[in-house]
Amino acid sequence: MIVTENLKKRFGNFWALKGVSFRVEEGETFAFLGPNGAGKSTTVHILTTLLKPTSGRAIVAGYDVVREPKEVRRRIGVVFQDPSLDRDLTAYENMLIHAGVYGIDRPRINELLEFVGLGDFRDVVVRRFSGGMQRRLEIARALLHEPEVLFLDEPTIGLDPQTREKIWRLLESLDVTIFLTTHYMEEAERLADRVAIIDGGRIVAMGSVDELRGIVGGEVIYVRASGDLGLGERLSDGRIKIEVDRAVEFLPKLFKLAEERGVEITEIECRRPTLNDVFLHITGREIREDGGDWIKSAIARRLRG
């Protein structure tokens, strides 16, 4: 449904994308996971025909995004990172205008507004909508022309946890190929069949969530014990970290070993690696969890000059 080959994009002398290649199959939910400035939005803008790549090729729904942008536009629905609604018009009017510029003869506006839970707000001016309501309206709008691929650029950025949960449930119920970008790892873990981790304009890892976890190793067990167990590495907080393939098989052995050595285990924690661990493992940095932190550090940087 989406194929890109060595996609590059340069802004001035900054390379936002340094050669990105991937495929998204029909019916799949594919996530681009990475920190701010990794090139996620640039990729979305190229795939949705708003930016021309400096080099490389991208095929969306069977058409080249540079040579046949109109054919691509007809077949995709887009929810951009920043809202793109007419705030002075009502939900219904926004949908009606969308139907107009997409040439839909009998738009299922009311049906879709009901679907995203905005049936009662049909005639309310969008200016009065909360962030989550605007997002849902944008999703309904993007679905109005029955696209083959739905693009979502940071669909839950800046939304509170309950609202995110609502949007996630809405997206899970959709039966369409989805390309989404996010810097929330739980969003990618929850929604995506496959994930590409992107950093500095390059895909650094790609696969299903389980495959990506496999890069770090199996699972990690943290143990606090009264003595030495003779395995794992000791952490600064006194705990022992043991990397194993399958914790369920290893734990009985661990208890047996402790008994043999006469060591008492006081605390034990098993963790499957998260996508954040994967990112950390590959890049040595964390994906910033919170957009606010990023802004704060940007402001701090500016203040420091």
Partner: protein, 242 residues
């Protein structure tokens, strides 16, 4: 044509939703007509006949040139992306928007024209051709507004260019004083101003006084508005979000 109609609908809907805008836009022209016009009439006999068609054109000119600012708002609030990513012809969308703004400008022009009839004796039959001329004027300057908005991108840049253009275009159009009162060189510049032909034409049909032959008014205004509209649609066609 669907995208064209849709964008006309959007501009009209937005205008009528903001009722204060309707009142605000007409009141400014009313100030010119009443205070400036009546004041000057004491000095120049029959000045109201000269001014009334001019204020009609000014009302349309002001609104249409300023309407470009909505393109900048759309960029800020993201709606522009919705249009850019749609499969509809961009030329058609922007032309629809320009026509929608032109209709809004004409509504205001007509409103002020009807009010002028209370103050000035004019030919009621002149209203119809004046509306057509006014519409062409509106298309010319809405297109210019859109073009400037696309080139400048920022609110400040747009406002700077617009305020730079606003007064010279008004003074060099004959809206406030007739073309024959201008020195020769000034008149030469006025001929390059599309608004001149709208003012002169409207004056011809409303007060039966004019400087340029009406046929020339029609042709010149038509050519100007088509050319500027064309330039605006081409530049919108090429628009990216870079």
């Amino acid at each position: 044509m669907r995208a064209f109609r849709t964008m006309v609908y959007r501009q009209l809907k937005r205008f009528f939703r903001a009722k204060s805008r309707v009142v605000g836009s007409v009141s400014n022209s009313l100030v010119w007509l009443l205070f400036f016009g009546l004041g000057f009439s004491g000095m120049v006999r029959g000045y109201m006949e000269i001014l009334a068609p001019g204020v009609f054109a000014m009302t349309i000119f002001n609104h249409s040139l300023m309407s470009g600012i909505s393109v900048i708002w759309d960029r800020e609030f993201g709606f522009l992306k919705e249009v850019l990513v749609a499969p509809a012809s961009r030329k058609e969308s922007i032309a629809g928007r320009i026509f929608g703004d032109s209709i809004v400008a004409i509504i205001q022009g007509v409103l002020i024209l009807l009010l002028s009839f209370a103050l000035v004796r004019m030919d009621p039959l002149g209203v119809i051709p004046s509306i057509v001329l006014g519409f062409m004027l509106a298309v010319a300057f809405s297109s210019l507004g859109v073009y400037v908005a696309m080139k400048m991108r920022s609110m400040e840049g747009f406002q700077m260019i617009i305020s730079l253009l606003m007064l010279p275009i008004i003074f060099l159009s004959g809206a406030l004083f007739p073309l024959e009162a201008m020195p020769g060189w000034m008149r030469c510049v006025a001929y390059a101003n599309p608004m001149t032909y709208a003012v002169d034409g409207a004056r011809f049909y409303l007060t039966h006084r004019s400087y340029v032959p009406p046929t020339i008014d029609w042709i010149a205004l038509f050519v100007f508005s088509v050319v500027i509209l064309f330039i605006a649609t081409i530049s919108f066609e090429r628009e990216t979000i870079e």
